[in-house]
Amino acid sequence: MSLRTVHRLATAAAVLALAGVAFVAWSSVDPSPLAVVVAMTVGQSVGTASLILLVAAIVIDLKRAGVLSPMRPRRTSNDGPHPRSSNVRG
């Protein structure tokens, strides 16, 4: 997953959030049955999809940065040979 994917997901999330916010604003300005029902169904769904995309972008971004990778102890040349590389035979 590249930075480009994160950008695309963030942009898609922003577009969907904008649409969801537009529905909320419409129902606030004109609280008619159609506006309120659409805001509370379509608007909510679009907003939820936007949040899911944002979370996906954050997870991918954190994985890219190595924050979500499993922690491994760093080995240096002073640690000696790796146990598996020894020639000891049982």
Binding site: L3, V6, H7, A10, T11, A13, A14, V15, A17, L18, G20, V21, A22, V24, A25, S27, S28, V29, P31, S32, P33, L34, V36, V37, A39, M40, T41, G43, Q44, G47, S50, L51, L54, A57, I58, D61
Partner: protein, 194 residues
């Protein structure tokens, strides 16, 4: 709440449009900007908008938004009308929300089932269609009257009519709002009453 929803929507829209126009590189500051623009502000707008929507959808003026309801809501708001709906609509505690107060479901999760019923109404109005005279989906439950009008007060049992139909009222086979009792609740209900 409506004002709060509008303000949060405006802030969210401004920050979102700003991001979409500028398309900046993902620096730590831009990441925070995105979190606020896509996460915090729209979520705030959605929560306040939902609360405002729930409150608005309880008002009689909201029900009157569908023209098929106008005959009922005009009568309910008529100060000279003596119909059951009009009398209840003059109550200063819930008069503006009389449709919701008298027709909501008072059982457990009643708020949810009432809202789902409202969605069904909206679907019928905008998509599915309806036939007149309008009918309730199911007979009007006496529980909706007795939620406020207690049947355990002494005055209730002192009415001979109540004593005669006591069991039927409890079973729901006789309605409080039936013709000859306290109904019909709406003038138009005379033509198509159950």
């Amino acid at each position: 709440m409506r004002v709060a929803a509008l303000i949060l929507s405006a802030i969210a829209a401004a920050t979102l449009i700003g991001y979409l126009v500028a398309r900046p590189a993902l620096s730590p500051a831009v990441r925070l900007w995105l979190l606020a623009a896509v996460g915090v502000f729209p979520l705030g707008a959605a929560i306040t908008g939902n609360v405002a929507g729930f409150h608005v959808s309880k008002r009689r003026s909201f029900c009157a938004g569908c023209h098929v309801m106008e005959a009922y809501t005009v009568d309910a708001g008529d100060p000279r009308s003596t119909s059951l709906a009009a009398v209840h609509s003059r109550n200063r505690f819930f008069g503006d929300e009389s449709c919701y107060t008298c027709h909501r479901d008072y059982r457990l999760f009643g708020t949810v089932t009432t809202k789902v019923g409202g969605l069904r109404h909206a679907w019928a109005y905008y998509v599915g269609g309806w036939t007149e005279p309008l009918r309730l989906y199911r007979p009007y439950a006496n529980d909706q009257c007795t939620y406020c009008h207690s049947t355990s007060l002494p005055g209730f049992a002192e009415e001979p009519e109540h004593v005669v139909v006591e069991d039927e009222l409890a079973r729901g086979t006789t309605s409080c709002a039936a013709d000859g009792c306290h109904g019909p609740p709406h003038p138009r209900a005379r033509r198509g009453a159950r």
